[in-house]
């Protein structure tokens, strides 16, 4: 099995993408709502990644 080396950012983005898709699929009733909710979750994941990244960067001084 090939070994994968990802940065924090790449791994977080992949996690956010796959999780958002499943959350969209299982929580909403129409395809349009699913797509919107998946995009909404992904957007919030990415915003949280940047916010926490900056928080840790500033916290380190």
């Amino acid at each position: 099995m090939p070994k994968m080396n990802l940065s924090h950012f790449e791994a977080s983005l992949l996690f956010a993408l796959l999780t958002s898709i499943v959350l969209g699929i299982v929580t909403k009733r129409t395809d349009r709502e699913r797509l919107r909710y998946a995009a909404y979750c992904f957007g919030y994941f990415v915003a949280a990644i940047f916010a926490l990244g900056w928080l840790m960067y500033l916290g380190h001084g």
């Binding site: 099995m1 090939p2 994968m4 791994a11 796959l18 299982v26």
Partner: protein, 134 residues
């Protein structure tokens, strides 16, 4: 995504949930929701494979103080919920030892998250089978 939808009639949910556990997305296929089943299967399988390729560790059942019990038993249950992916990975020896490094840590979390996503899919399949959802 055009799918043939059955009328919302309650049916026996146990085989649906059991198949959903064993084969991620299988419950949806049994309920004739192949599009949703395929997307769930792809996401869970991809998450699990990424975890393996990042050399993530699988949790062993371990008890002790509260934190140890919650982390190790919870992690083991999360891994187990990936169904056949977990069983095959264990059978073929892809169970990695726990190693230091951020990539391995992400891998471990990806393996657990694959199982947690499958739990969400199983709950969705249960709701469809019991007629609470289309």
């Amino acid at each position: 995504m055009a799918e043939v939808k059955e009328a919302a009639q309650p049916r026996n949910w146990i085989p649906v949930v059991a198949l959903g556990w064993f084969l991620p997305g299988g419950g949806h296929f049994l309920l004739k929701r192949p599009g949703r089943g395929a997307i769930v299967a792809a996401c869970v399988a991809l998450m699990f494979l990424l975890g393996l390729m990042m050399r993530g560790a699988m949790f062993q059942w371990q008890t002790g103080d509260l934190l140890t019990t919650v982390i190790y038993c919870g992690g083991f249950i999360g891994d187990l919920m990936s169904g056949v992916l977990f069983l095959l990975a264990r059978a073929f020896g892809y169970d990695q030892p726990d190693m230091a490094g951020h990539v391995h840590d992400y891998g471990t979390k990806f393996l657990v998250a694959a199982g947690l996503l499958n739990i969400l899919a199983m709950v969705d399949a249960y709701e469809i089978a019991t007629g609470r959802k289309d």
